[in-house]
Symmetry: C2
């Protein structure tokens, strides 16, 4: 790997490339062209070639890329060879669904602890994952050396709980609350606001025509 910064946009496409290459390998393909890849992952081939150029020489124009080498390379980049433990904060409807989501399938991510306030769930093992009381959160996160948390709690608690997570040493949060969290500079927050996503989709349907032009 070249010793340089990979742009954030490129990094965001890595898991996408990776997953598709696994499909190719499973079906016995050994080579893939940027055009084929482009068709499959819906990223234009110029972007794919530019993305891949950050990784050094992984393919030759006209010959296609070697699927297995690419996979090995991406796998290393996405740290599939090391288990990442994740904490889930808030075992409500969405939290429960995420416990069952299967992040561990095909990759080395595991939710290893969940936290909630509800007495009927705390102290139990749900879908193979122990649910601890919120009062044990900091201690458990530090003991288990967890650095990533998924936040699925009510909005009015989000910032307070996030602050506790920062104190406990969490460095990455996947935030499902609509709250824009204040976080220290060394913490990455990735927000997924489902209502916002749905509103934006509907906005586009109502305001843009089939060619992507404004209909106002």
């Amino acid at each position: 790997m070249k010793n340089q910064l990979i742009p954030r946009a490129t990094a965001k496409r890595l898991p996408l490339y990776y997953r598709y290459l696994k499909v190719l390998l499973d079906s016995g393909k050994t080579k893939v062209s940027s055009t084929e890849l482009s068709e499959a992952v819906k990223v234009d081939s110029a972007t794919i070639r530019r993305d891949f150029s950050y990784f050094g020489e992984l393919g030759k124009r006209g010959y296609g890329y070697d699927v297995e080498s690419l996979l090995e390379f991406f796998g290393r980049m996405l740290t599939e060879d090391r288990l990442t433990s994740v904490a889930l904060i808030g075992v409500g409807n969405l939290g429960s669904a995420l416990l069952k989501y299967g992040f561990h399938q095909n990759n080395n991510i595991r939710i290893s602890a969940a936290f909630d306030v509800k007495e009927d769930i705390v102290g139990r093992i749900v879908d193979g994952i122990p649910v601890y009381p919120m009062s044990d959160m900091k201690e458990q996160i530090q003991q288990q050396q967890i650095e990533v948390a998924i936040l699925t709690i009510p909005s009015d608690k989000a910032q307070d709980v996030a602050n506790e997570l920062f104190e406990a040493g969490i460095r990455g949060i996947m935030n499902f609350t609509p709250v824009r969290l204040n976080a220290p500079e060394n913490v990455h927050v990735q927000s997924i606001d489902l209502t916002n996503e749905l509103q934006t989709l509907i906005y586009f349907l109502n305001h843009y025509n089939d060619n992507g032009e404004s209909v106002e």
Copy 2:
């Protein structure tokens, strides 16, 4: 509103501005500056001013923006005054959580029909929403004039079901499967791949240091 195309990036921030302005209004504030807004929604104030410039004259530099006018304007843009019916395809773990998610709170979106193959759930009303068999999907979507669907089904069924949705007249899909859907040009697909999001977050933690620089 000016008769021009609003950039996609700007449109994506609208729901964010909208939700925060509601908070301000509820707390009795009538004016907000781009600096205050910037602080709250974590978008730099130059971007906010540029975004707002697309909407015409809604505020004057140095005087701040009028909260109520902004809200009324955004509300109109996000079509809060008209109910949008949404179909949910696949009442599994994630689908069930989304039925309970409360998209209808604070906005005019309602999941009005759900579809599944499981006999024990089909024909029942779950969280106030009727669950129909997949065989009725096309008919119900057309009868109810639903144009937006949330897709939470197994990956191996995703493209086939999406094709049926396109035939039924669906124009927007919120796709929770990791499959990159082939869609007609007049259909908008908004994909939320939770594994991809989590992998990317972990990638950043492992490969970038606190200053956003590569640690390779």
